[in-house]
Each structure stands twice: as structure tokens, then as C-alpha cells.
Subunit: 146 residues, 4 copies
């Protein structure tokens, strides 16, 4: 069973959210586990897609309260470690899909690349050597899984 | 949905293992989520019971490899934080059931009591103020959940 | 150069504070580095004694603001990890001196014993196998260092 | 007292090492505390410069053994958290100076920017919005401190 991390901003525009939603659906369709930071924006839309397609998502939260998770997270892991939990999101994931994103997302991409994990980027905000580009949610999940 | 942490030694005698197995079954029967350190001994037997009864367990591992989890863990969270992951086991749990155990278990009990979480002890190795004693797996889970 | 962890409550009575103060002075007199959680009570009094005797203390803080350290800490390490920083206090220390204390202190003692580190107890609140008892600050530091 | 984080690769060419060495000297000359990851390369050369100029450096190590620190670190903090300690390096620092560097360095830059901390870059490998560029060690430390 593969664990696919989905990283991106905690707030996002509708179009980005739709990409995340489709990525979540695809992950579930392939029976992989979705790992994310458990909050809003890209994380929430990915979890929503995953849930609708009958999949399982793990939300690794910065805070200590499980209620802070978005309502689509299957299992929420409270850490109380603040942004340091980004490291855990990467560590739990076999591969990462980065959707748009800002500095927090960039830190997760950089950690994953340092740990030699595959990172697939969908509409990336950053262009780094080593990122695999995808043009659609379907392609992103395919590149992540195969 | 309640998250019940089960803590105890990574190696245990048969009798202790049986208690852990029954606790795992009871947790699943009550549709709570079992949280543990994901390794052997008490953790493994609790996960086994949980799985057999159709429940879900989260294994929060000290290392970075998911294969280190016992085979009954539903979802394994790799941390690479070593024993520091004990803190995460406590933080993720609404309530703790401590089964026998040694120094690692004692640290988890102490952290939980400091965070004002309920700790139910089954055949405890330590007697601390604030522990709720249980005489059977059934009673332990009942005291944990109600 | 040895690093001696001093653990105890963040609030303490005068008598306990005096013990901590003397322990801090002794640690400095032996040119060891004092490690603690950086806050008040036992931690503050130990740092005060250390500073007055010309020693160096490291305060490993739960929060993200260096100003939360007591005024006698030489160098403050902000972690933002909350009580999880207790683990770092133990990990940075070659040996631990526990002065009185409550659940947080107990968790640190248990972690140290699990990691096979020497723990010297001064007026302990807990009696655990493996603790070395000391009757005075001088004796505590001597037992810690030799 | 300001804490200046110096981040860069654990292995570096001579020229980069010289920049780090000069940065370390400048930090000490301004009586700031140097914070780093405690290992080789840029970290080691910065600590060496700092030590030669009579300054103090904190080395926040990924492992659990203090001997893994480079020989110029004043005080070594063992974490056992692996690369997750990068977060602590950033958290302990008021401002960051990034010297060249690879993915690990990029993760630290990204975390610092996310936490709204100033990041000064000297011969950067990455060009990100929000980085302040410096052309010399002197200028880097001046930009960091003022």
C-alpha cells in the first residue's frame, strides 16, 4: 500500500481546489493512502475527493486538537509541533504531489527531495531541479504511483 | 470518534499479550480508534485484536520505515524521531490504557497525566496517583470510554 | 565537558528552590554545562546558581519566544514543541538531577532511565528502581559527575 | 542578544568555506550567537570563524551523540530527530544567513520565510522572492543584524 502526500496551501482559489479534489479522488481510486497536513485549502479539497471516492486520508495536524482537522480527514494525528509537522507529512509519504503552494509547500518539497523521494508538481509555484511536472490530476497520480 | 492509546512493552509474556489482544478487540467493538507505537509486544497484540474485530489502528513508529510496523497496524505513521514519538502517541490519544510496561510506558503515563488525560492501568508495573485501575480488558476499555 | 540536566517543577517552594540553586552552583563549580527546560521554579533557581558561579546554562524552551526563558539562562533554545521538549532536555544531558517534581519531571526521569542514563534524585517525589538518591546538592552533583 | 542562524551544505568547496568562516567571525565580532546544524562544511567553517573571534556557537545536531559536532561548536544540542532538526535551527534563530546550499538549505530558507524571518543569502543556489542578497560576509552579517 502506497502513501501519497498531498501538499499545498491552506487557502486556495477554486481552480486549485478542484485540482486537489481530483487528485484526492485519483489517489482513492488507486487504493493508495492520502497523507496531508489535515487543514483547509488544498488539503481539505484533496481529502474531500478522497472521501467521496471511498479512500482513506491521514491528516497530520500542527495543533493539539483533533477538531482542527478538515471534516473529510479519515484519521487525524495531532502533533502540537506547529509547522514542524510538515516534516512528518513528508516522512510518512512514499511520494509527494505538490499543488501550487507557497513557502510551507516549498519547505516540504525541499525536504522530500533531500530525502530522495519523488515529488510530482501540479501547477507549481516553484521550479526546482528534480520536480516531475504533471499537467493534470490524473497524470500527477499516475506519475506518483508508477 | 474516540482515539484510545494502548501503551506497554515492545516485548511481553503471553499473559500480558492476551490482555492486550482483548483490549484491542474491545476497542474495535466500541468503534474507537486504537493508537499505539506500532511495534511488537503489547502493541502488536492490541493491533491484532483490533484487526480481528474489524477495527482500525494507528501505529506511530519511532523509525522511518513503514515495514517496521507490526503486521496488524492499519495505518503506520513513520516519524524518525526515536523514542520521542511516545509523546505523539499520547498527544493523539483521548485516553490511555497502560498494560504492564516499563520505563517507556511510565514516560507515556506521566505525559498523559501531565496533560490531564485519563489513564487506565491494567496490571500496572507502577502505582501512581491519578491512575484508574482496571481488573480486566473489558473493564479497562469501559473505563477508558465512559 | 559534561552536560548535566536539572529537572523539576516550574513552580516550587523556597526550600526546593534553594536546593536547585545550590545544585546550579555546584554544576558551574565543576565546569559542567547545565541543561534545563529554561522556565521558572527549579529551572530558574538552578540557572541562577549556575550564573552566579560563572557557569553556563542551556534552556530548552517549550515555546517559540526566547523571552520566555528565565533571566539566568545563558543560551535559550526555542523549540515550539510544547512539552515534547522534555525529551530534548533528556537527550542533551549526559546525566540527570531530578529535584522534587511532578508528572513532567517523572516523564523526564522515565525517559532518561529508558535511555540508560544516570538519574540522581534530590528529595524525590517518586521512588523508582534505578534512581540514585542524594541527600544534598553537593552529593547530587558529585554522584552525577563521578 | 541576537541569534543568527547560518545554513549551508555539510560539505563545501574551499571558497564557500571561506565565506562561512568570515561570516562566523563577523557574527562573533558583533557579539551575536551563531546557531547552526553543528556538522561539517559551511557549519564547521562558520563555527571555526566564530570561535577564533571569541564568539559562541550553538550546534543543533540531527543525531544523539555530541561527538558528532564539529570541533568548533561551543555548545552542542543533540536531538535524535534527524533532518527534522532543521526546523529547530530556524526556530532558534532571529535571522538566517544562507550560504550556497542544496535541498536541506532550501528547506530551512523556506521555513524561515514562512515564519516571516529575515533571510540573507550569500552566493545563493536558489533565487526566491523575499531573500535579501549580500555580496560579502561583512554585508551579510550587517544585513542580518541591522
Amino acid at each position: 500500500m502506497l502513501y501519497v502526500g498531498v501538499v499545498g496551501s491552506g487557502e486556495c482559489d477554486e481552480e486549485t481546489g478542484l485540482l486537489a479534489y481530483e487528485v484526492g479522488k485519483e489517489i482513492a481510486a488507486h487504493r493508495a493512502v492520502l497523507v496531508c497536513g489535515g487543514l483547509g485549502g488544498v488539503m481539505e479539497q484533496a481529502c474531500r475527493g478522497c472521501k467521496e471516492a471511498g479512500g482513506v486520508s491521514l491528516g497530520i495536524l500542527p495543533g493539539s486538537k483533533r477538531q482542527e482537522a478538515n471534516p473529510y480527514v479519515s484519521y487525524a494525528i495531532t502533533t502540537g509541533m506547529g509547522e514542524m509537522r510538515n516534516f512528518l507529512v513528508v516522512r510518512c509519504s512514499d511520494v509527494l504531489i505538490a499543488i501550487s503552494g507557497e513557502h510551507g509547500t516549498l519547505s516540504e518539497i525541499a525536504i522530500a527531495l533531500k530525502e530522495k523521494k519523488k515529488v510530482v508538481a501540479l501547477r507549481p509555484s516553484y521550479h526546482l531541479q528534480g520536480l516531475e511536472m504533471a499537467r493534470s490530476p490524473k497524470e500527477a497520480v499516475k506519475k506518483a504511483l508508477f
